[in-house]
Symmetry: C2
């Protein structure tokens, strides 16, 4: 619901004088007042203001600060619980102005920063922003000889074998990341089979202090010839799972690689259904899009 | 490695005139030049500049823009691949100045925005920021009677049973979120047993357009009395797994709730080891901290 806060006629004059372009303001002629900062109210009772939709290019930080102070007072009186302020990069000076009222960054992407202020007396119930990056590795298992493709990273611990992998791009499915990263790093084409393990780690230095989820997938090879990326890797080989899993080689793999190698050996012997989380695509209730659900398959 | 870029003496005068506080600048006396924007170079060849450490309070957007333009030219000549610019909220006006050189927001939290500019001729290899929020639900299974605690959300589809849950706080382990949310929503105390399923969904409206990972955990009840949160739920009951799993009730649960109920019924009959991803805590290689690894337990 789009609402308009009309208050303090005096600010109209200030905004006009500073913007020098009253004609572009959303004036409601003949009403004796005009919308100052138009905001949309959501079902939780929070107001959202899109600064890009308001002609503020020539407005000073000081004038904006007065305007926002008045609007916030009004929203409080109206019982709004919070204010979301979307600030385009070109108007970034208004973020500092908002901060004097208590606004803080919620998140920023590309050319927009989103600030937020909790208004209600009740404890803050604002939702957080994305907290995790997702890294995915692919264990490409050749069932004909029990070998798997492993790499030694150029930038990581030397002489340590691990499964090729990397970070998911925004909007990329877990299985797609595994297949893409394996191809980029090793030259081996593969297809997604299942999800094998999930690791959660917090305060991750490689994630700007946020959390990291590291997922290992089982992949089936579609080609076997290695042409590895020399920018990312120093070595890349097909190695026997038994060698990666064995205690004698524990100093040449990461603990998680060794564990997943043992899982895969178990899968080779007893069937991969004993270790897999298989994937099912299910339509989302309202959007008509699909999501991916991973869990143990029930074969009985 | 901390390095100092010394270039264009003329800018020293400009900065001094505008800041009015030359004594606070990091002047290297007797060198004939002073560091303009000190930056740290990382192992990838990118420069990081912390504006909070530089006395720029009284510097105008225009003067900063000139200063940054010169520094960026210098970093390019030095072969730097990228520039990370940390901008405190109080100096947010400099984000707009940086944007005219091509800087864009990478992320922002609390009182700092981070902008970045890729400098190298090679394709951009900048790491992204956190892409996923993590939501966790808890299926508290009473093995003595085959019942599980389910709720009907106040803000979601009416008359639909689902497992209680909510978003992980930053730095919170998956199992802790499940136990905390179940207690908050239902009043039932429980302990973490295993991870059962993972769902990935992109462009999530409840995640500010980012991605959502929804994890369902199996929990063991430590208490059974329900005292549910009336702000979040309209109903909360112990319900038979068979009722949730059956096709006759499919319109009263979400598809994922029905699937996990069928998994849990299978676990009740054949042992939970057939459906669980169990958790293992493993020390991180360098930090001495622990991470949580979830995968199928090998019972053989």
């Amino acid at each position: 619901m789009r609402v308009f806060t009309r208050r303090l006629l005096v600010l109209r004059a200030a905004l006009r004088a500073l913007s020098g372009s009253p004609g572009r303001a959303r004036v409601q002629e003949g009403r004796g007042a005009e919308p100052l900062l138009p905001g949309a109210v959501d079902r939780y009772g929070a107001v959202t203001v899109e600064l890009k939709d308001i002609p503020l290019e020539d407005t000073s930080e000081g004038a904006f600060s007065s305007l926002l102070t008045d609007c916030v007072s009004g929203w409080k009186l109206e019982g709004r619980v919070a204010v979301w302020l979307h600030v385009p990069l070109a108007l970034s000076r208004f973020a500092a102005a908002a901060s004097t009222l208590g606004f803080r960054y919620h998140h920023a992407r590309e050319d927009t920063a989103t600030l937020v202020l909790w208004l209600a007396d009740a404890p803050c119930r604002l939702p957080g922003y994305a907290t995790h990056q997702v890294g995915v590795a692919g264990a490409v298992v050749d069932e004909s000889n029990g070998k798997v493709v492993v790499v030694q990273d150029r930038n990581k611990t030397l002489n340590t074998w691990k499964f090729p992998g990397g970070l998911s791009d925004q909007g990329e499915n877990i299985g797609c990341t595994a297949v893409r990263e394996v191809l980029e790093e090793t030259g081996v084409r593969s297809e997604f089979q299942s999800l094998l393990s999930v690791r959660q780690q917090h305060d991750h230095p490689g994630a700007f202090g946020m959390s990291d989820l590291y997922v290992i997938c089982r992949l089936r090879p579609l080609s076997r010839r290695i042409r590895f990326c020399r920018e990312e890797c120093v070595r890349c080989e097909w190695v026997e799972l038994a060698a990666l899993a064995g205690p004698a080689h524990s100093n040449q793999t990461t603990p998680i690689t060794a564990r997943v190698a043992r899982l895969l050996l178990h899968g080779l012997e007893h069937g991969f259904h004993t270790i897999d989380l298989s994937m099912e695509e299910i339509p989302a209730v309202h959007s008509g899009r699909f999501y991916q659900l991973y869990h143990r398959a029930l074969t009985s």
